[in-house]
């Protein structure tokens, strides 16, 4: 999809393989598949070049880099299929992988609904590879970390976090002529600032490291850590909450696997018997859009089908599911390009979520709140009730009491037990949606939300 100018050999140890190299590798595996007797062969190639600098107690304590390329082969024979993955790239090892895949496939009964592999597809172009990110050095990361740590020392605080830079590429192809490649870069800076018993946190993530300012994030976390000291204990009960985008992201992330057609088929989705009904507030609209400027990720799915933009929720009503080829055929629909690599039992899921958002600023949400809580982020979120989508978890790294339109003090962290469905019926205000990153769910484009009646059930010791 994106121009590849040099091969791995040309660039030495620190560059991705060229598209030509990927294509050659793929053709080798497809040829071996044919020779071994496979009716069809699919190949996935995934290459990663990542580096991560980790700091704590105001200094770097871990600093790592990795490089790996894997080949994953799926053969198809007599309505049977299986996958074998290896990172041994010599021809004998690839032949062994192909033969193992065939052997695995033949060990099972026929799968009547298994589809032949798709033919060549057309893809919308995306550009998410940024040279300045790919070229970021360990020394440059260390210098940025040093500055953040110096700020912590100056403020009497303790900093911990990561600075990541990396590049990856993936390709999928098959013996029917399908061939798709994608490459992207990623830079990420996350920082926790501790002051006495209080902590706060900020994190950013972008394809282009120039869009990431570690010092701004460090300053934000530092300022909030100072505000978070002397936290008082409040009674656990229902509160109006203002969730910052990272808190929204980590909580709603658990909802979207239920938008898989296979999950609904399996009756493990909270959308069973609820499609087309007013499940959320009318101010909630959500789509899955791999082409949104705030998104990263390949424009094709695990079978190489182009990702479609899908309107999942329209004014509070769940309207559409996402489909792999297989679930689409069962439902009489068209695949939406959201399938996982086969074989699998989960089917598909939307992975590029975009909320429509609102127009309020965080400051306006605070100003409009008579009594409530401002939540920086959430932690250790787990599903308590799969149909009502009740999630439990803790607040973390900055919980603040809002009174009469102003942040007045810090509060001790709460445990919540809250239905996400109910929560999205009680959204009073939203900010414009932004690309957000958290720890419990994948990145999304989400707003900050002011929500009424959010259920906290217990309080912890800090």
């Amino acid at each position: 999809m994106t121009p590849h100018s040099k091969s791995r050999i040309d660039e030495g140890a620190r560059g991705l393989s060229s598209e030509k190299r990927l294509h050659e590798l793929m053709q080798t595996v497809i040829r071996l598949g044919k020779a071994a007797g496979a009716e069809e062969t699919e190949v996935h190639l995934d290459e990663t070049l990542d580096a991560l600098t980790r700091f704590a107690n105001n200094g770097i304590h871990q600093n790592v880099a990795e490089h790996g390329l894997t080949v994953s082969v799926r053969t198809f024979l007599d309505r049977k299929t299986a996958r074998v993955t290896t990172n041994k790239l010599d021809e004998d090892s690839l032949r062994a992988a192909v033969e193992s895949s065939l052997s695995l496939a033949q060990s099972q009964p026929k799968v009547p609904y298994l589809l032949p592999m798709p033919a060549k597809q057309r893809y919308q172009r995306v550009q998410r590879f940024v040279k300045s990110t790919a070229e970021l050095s360990a020394a440059e990361r260390a210098r940025a970390v040093r500055k953040a740590c110096d700020l912590a020392v100056k403020e009497g605080q303790v900093a911990a976090g990561i600075f990541v830079s990396g590049q990856m590429q993936s390709a999928v192809g098959n013996s029917r002529g399908l061939f798709a490649t994608y490459r992207q870069t990623r830079a990420e800076f996350s920082i926790t600032m501790q002051q006495e018993a209080a902590t706060s946190w900020a994190k950013g993530n972008a394809a282009d490291v120039r869009n990431l300012d570690p010092q701004v994030l460090a300053q934000r976390a530092s300022k909030k850590a100072r505000l978070a000291t002397s936290a008082g204990e409040l009674p656990p009960e229902k509160y109006t909450v203002i969730l910052e985008p990272a808190a929204v992201l980590d909580l709603v992330g658990f909802l979207f696997y239920d938008f898989a057609a296979t999950a609904v088929d399996d009756k493990r989705s909270c959308l069973n018997d609820r499609m087309g009904k007013q499940l959320f507030g009318e101010n909630i609209s959500i789509c899955d859009d791999a082409y949104h400027p705030g998104q990263l990720g390949a424009p094709f799915d695990g079978e190489g089908i182009p990702r479609q933009r899908v309107l999942l929720v329209d004014k509070g009503v769940p309207r559409n599911l996402v489909y792999s080829r297989s679930s689409a055929k069962r439902a009489g629909k068209k695949p939406t390009g959201h399938g996982f690599a086969l074989p699998n039992e989960y089917g598909e899921a939307p992975m590029n979520l975009v909320f429509s958002g609102g127009k309020s600023s965080l400051e306006e949400m605070i100003a409009s709140t008579d009594r409530g809580l401002l939540v920086t982020r959430l932690w250790y979120i787990r599903e308590v009730d799969p149909y009502e989508k009740v999630m439990t978890g803790m607040t973390r790294d900055g919980l603040f009491l809002v009174e009469k339109g102003k942040v007045t003090s810090a509060a001790r962290n709460f445990r919540f037990n809250q239905s996400v469905l109910e929560m999205l019926r009680n959204v009073e205000l939203m900010s414009p949606a932004v690309r957000a990153t958290g720890e419990e769910a994948f990145e999304m484009v989400v707003p900050a939300m002011k929500i009424n009646g959010f259920q906290f059930t217990e309080v912890t010791k800090f």
Binding site: E66, T85, M394
Partner: protein
């Protein structure tokens, strides 16, 4: 493989490293699943590569590669040194490592049946049969089964002269029946939830679990939960099954004792710990009957935390964590041991793969057995709730406040299990909870449970840990908060 590792160590030394170790690892995995009577996942994978860790200019660097040629390994080691020197630009102090002897050894975990030698047809037939047994029960809407096998070879070499090869064989299996009815989804799992039981064993584990025999009961219980009474909301007596207690140990003892977490090294992601250094040998963690060890030795059992040497070349050990209710020890490595006055690492450095840095991880963190027979424990309970099989788990980032829910519970009245309860949950504060333990069942009921999915570190690493536990009783526990009075 040692030749490649030696090239890495030589390169690191020449480039200025004061210490280096290298791990060549070869990982093989097979995954089989079924869903509703059909094969779901059918996959195998292997991965081989080298990770090189160096200490240069007083700071750490790590690099890894799958290019297992002399040139690839030399480049990798040189990069590790370059990274270490970059780390030194923002180091807090020079790394000090506790002394350790050099070892030359080869070790293989014991198993009777190599799972990779068992025909796939046999393995699939077992899963499909268990799946069919669950589907025979009316009302079941989703049936799932799984098998997972791993074979991990590692060749460790260090600049102090260690050369250690270890081979570990891991097996896991489980079944799940789900029932969607009305406006509720209920499920039951066996032998445990989230993948089942895992151990450092061969295919004999799968045979012993007898998935087919348990399949009808699991399915019947999933359906029966829909007509069961709601678990009440109250403070009361709680008995936990061994598998649930295993996860309770994992979250409220295993994680807080990780010394890297205590020292703030995980503050940005996994969190810190309430077990600050001043609490060692002073905190009353639990009642006098609570004894917890971290034991990686084979004689403790074939758990996911069993090995001969950790990934820093330190031999497996048994460390007292809680002794007669008192907090006695942390999980440490060569870098942190001196900070708690230890002359030697407790041997808990573990890595997920060749491309990950070893970090402090749980080994087998086990509650030692007590004296009670399970029937006597129930008979001795006038009014209580017995909870089994984890459904959700969550704890704050300093490991004080937790909440667990389980798949099923039984109400106990007058010393007898009288009825099933649905949607059970309990919550509390770690030390208050362990100080409410008044009975632990004996070794006859003790199982070394495997937790295959423990996440920690940046980049994230998934590690298997072991937790020996037998059923135990806790008084005055907060019950039923998660679901309220549904």
């Amino acid at each position: 493989m040692y030749d490649l590792a030696t090239h890495a160590l030589d390169t690191a030394r020449v480039r200025g490293a004061s210490y280096a170790d290298a791990r060549v690892m070869h990982l093989r995995q097979r995954d089989l699943t079924t869903k509703n009577g059909e094969v779901g996942t059918l996959a195998q994978s292997e991965s081989i590569g080298i990770g090189v860790r160096v200490l240069a200019s007083g700071a750490w660097g790590f690099a890894s590669t799958d290019r297992l040629t002399k040139e690839g390994v030399v480049t990798c080691a040189a990069e590790a040194v370059k990274i270490a020197k970059a780390s030194a630009l923002a180091k807090r102090s020079d790394v000090i490592m506790a002394p350790e002897d050099a070892y030359v050894d080869s070790w293989q975990s014991p198993f009777r049946k190599d799972p990779f030698e068992i025909p796939l047809e046999t393995q699939l037939e077992l899963l499909l049969k268990a799946d069919a047994e669950m589907r025979r029960v009316k009302g079941v809407t989703l049936t799932e089964t799984d098998l997972q096998f791993r074979k991990i070879d590692s060749w460790f070499a260090s600049s102090i002269g260690s050369r250690i090869h270890q081979r570990k064989v891991i097996s896991g299996c489980g079944i799940v029946a789900t029932c969607y009815q009305g406006e509720e989804i209920q499920k039951r799992s066996y032998p445990n939830s989230f993948g089942g039981q895992y151990a450092l064993r061969g295919y004999e584990l799968v045979e012993e679990m007898d998935l087919v025999k348990h399949a009808p009961r699991v399915a019947e219980e999933a359906v029966a939960l829909h007509s069961a009474a709601q678990c009440p909301r109250k403070n009361g007596t709680l008995i936990l099954s061994g598998s649930q207690l295993g996860l309770q140990i994992h979250e409220s003892v295993g994680h807080p004792i990780e010394l890297d977490r205590v020292l703030g090294q995980e503050a940005n992601f996994a969190g810190t710990s309430f077990l600050t250094l001043d609490k060692l040998n002073k905190l009353k963690y639990g009642t006098d009957i609570v004894n917890v060890v971290a034991d990686a030795r084979l004689e403790h059992g074939q758990g996911l935390g069993t090995f001969a040497y950790d990934d820093e070349g330190v031999p497996a050990q048994c460390t007292d964590i809680i002794k007669d209710g008192q907090f006695r020890g942390y999980l440490s490595n060569r870098e942190t041991a001196h900070l708690v006055g230890l002359a030697r690492s407790s041997g808990t450095m573990r890595t997920e793969s060749w491309n990950r840095l070893p970090i402090i991880r749980m080994t087998n963190i086990s509650l030692l057995p007590g004296t009670w027979k399970e029937n006597d424990l129930i008979a001795d309970t006038e009014d209580g709730i017995l909870m089994d099989t984890n459904r959700s788990w969550s704890i704050d980032d300093r490991r004080y406040q937790f909440q667990f829910s389980t798949e099923i519970a039984w109400e106990i009245k007058g010393g007898k299990k009288v009825r099933i309860l649905k949607n059970p949950s309990y919550s509390g504060i770690t030390t208050e909870f362990w100080n409410s333990c008044d009975a632990i069942c004996s070794r006859d009921y003790w199982t070394l449970w495997g937790t295959p999915n423990c996440g920690k570190g940046q980049p994230m690493q998934t590690m298997g840990t072991g937790h020996g536990a037998s059923p135990a009783r806790f008084r005055n526990v907060r019950i039923g908060t998660a679901f309220g009075e549904k």
